[in-house]
Amino acid sequence: MDEGRVSRHRAGAKLWLAGGWLLLALLAAILAPLVAPQDPLAQDLMLERLPPFWIDGAEPGYWLGTDSLGRDLLSRLIFGGRIAFIVAFAAASTACLVGSALGLVAGYFGGWADRVISRIVDVWMAFPPVLFAILLVAVLGTGLSSVVLAIAIIDWTRFCRVIRAEAMGQSRMDYVENARIAGYGRVGIMLREVLPNVVPSIVALLSLEMGIAIIVEAILSFVNLSISTDDPTWGGIIAEGRLSIHQAWWVLVFPLVTLILTVLSFSQFGEALKTRFDPVLW
């Protein structure tokens, strides 16, 4: 009991820290036109490579400095968050929906359904994911929807594998047998009895996947395979920052920190939520 309370307490702290950052980043992204101090696309050669605010030579209004074209870094990060979050939510929920549904069916029904689904997952996972993503985008073309689709196509297997295992474990429990004796149909048992018990895992995976989707999008942007090159993306900013690392380290460091914080927050947030909502762990 005591142990449960400690882990719940820690989970609470994690939940607030990670959730706080995500909320801040999300709000900034949604309200970008209102909160961004500058136009993220406005170039000004007079203002190029301004340092962040605490270093001599900084300009007020350009808190995190500017890049080599004189664009405001903070505003670019805020606007870049829009694409990051859209990709995160769209790709992760698509992957989650497909993967969890197939995993639930495979794990609960077993038999040939499980054999077919598990075989597909095995084959799927044999592809190295990043290469797979690049290949897919090359085929589907660049643009928001193909990036989302590519990530979902690659990552549904994460959900499928985990949820299959959990659903399988749950279906061996006596309460499932009891429901069967009571006269419930198989699909009803799967949805009403088994599904609620795997929801905490689905939520945790979903959150983790949002972080992963952001990384994949950044990687695609980095190799210039993502969305249009005009809109700022975190991966795109990182790619540019790499070129001017010796003159303006901040153009590389701030987007990296933003990316890492966001990805970490997603994974921690998911874990904390799972601990929090798993009734048995309390």
Partner: protein
């Protein structure tokens, strides 16, 4: 009156052809408690699952039939069978923790079945569930109905499950070692409770146990099972006063006595087991599986 449960010559095999049930015949009359006793692995749970239609997919029934109040379960289509079993039977399981859904509150878990499967009104179901919680001596039904299973003790969970088993007035309850997973002090209370509800509701019970002490306390009839084979079948009183089969006698000799706790460590007599094994091996040789 129809026999409540009539199992005749039931045999079941594993995929490798090994028999887990060997021509099992047993009956449970209405309102009667039939104990099914045997060591772990004898196939007691298998028989219960066969009756309730939840055998593991690897186990196949190859001969024999089962009648529930005269209805031949093997002749019904799967849907009708499920409906019949759902309406007339219930299970009191061995492990009260995993038999309740961990993510659902007790209240909806209990009423859900009455409403969805048996078509009762929500109000009637609610009233009935409360009545049963009262019968199993749960003092604070309000709290219990709102609890998740893990918030209750093992004894409380088993009370909930007993209430759940009796709630829809089944004709037959399969109780699969319902006290085995509980503390010794709680075991007696739960056993007494099952006996009391059984008497008041007049429900027939197939009571699975490995404990002859429990058999003596609760049952009127008893079947002794060894390696999937019923070796002896008798009135409980008769069995204890004059056990016929050597295995029954050996089992009694190995049963713990309160005056001599170390007696519980005694294994069943080996010579008897060797004799039985030979008997079963020759029976298996003679037995030809139906349908090749």
């Amino acid at each position: 009156m129809n026999t409540c449960l009539d199992i005749a010559k039931l045999s079941a095999v594993l995929p490798n052809g090994q028999r887990v049930l060997r021509s099992v015949s047993l009956t449970v009359q209405p309102g009667e408690v039939r104990a099914l006793v045997g060591e772990s692995g004898a196939g007691k749970t298998m028989i219960g699952k066969a009756v309730l239609g939840v055998l593991p997919s690897s186990v196949r029934i190859v001969e024999g039939d089962m009648r529930l109040e005269g209805e031949d379960l093997g002749k019904l289509d799967p849907k009708a069978r499920r409906t019949l079993i759902g309406a007339r039977t219930a299970l009191i399981p061995q492990d009260p923790l995993t038999a309740l859904n961990p993510s659902r509150r007790i209240g909806p878990q209990m009423t859900d079945r009455l409403v969805r499967i048996l078509g009762w009104s929500g109000e009637k179901a609610d009233k009935r569930v409360r009545q049963l919680l009262d019968e199993v001596q749960i003092r604070d039904p309000e709290r219990v109905l709102r609890c998740y299973p893990h918030e209750l003790s093992g004894g409380m969970r088993q009370r909930v499950l007993i209430a759940g088993a009796f709630v829809a007035e089944p004709r037959l309850i399969v109780a699969d070692e319902p006290t085995t997973a509980l503390d010794v002090t709680v075991q007696k209370q739960i056993l007494r409770l099952i006996a009391q509800l059984q008497r008041e509701h007049g429900t027939a019970i197939l009571f699975v146990t490995h404990d002859l002490g429990v058999v003596a306390k609760i049952s009127q009839k008893v079947s002794v099972l060894y390696a999937g084979k019923v070796v002896e079948e008798a009135d409980t009183a008769a069995l204890f006063s004059a056990p016929q089969h050597p295995y029954t006698r050996a089992l009694m000799a190995a049963t713990p006595r309160y005056t001599d706790p170390f007696a519980s460590l005694k294994p069943v007599d080996e010579a008897v087991l060797a004799g039985l094994a030979a008997e079963i091996a020759s029976a298996d040789k003679a037995w030809r599986r139906p349908h090749g």
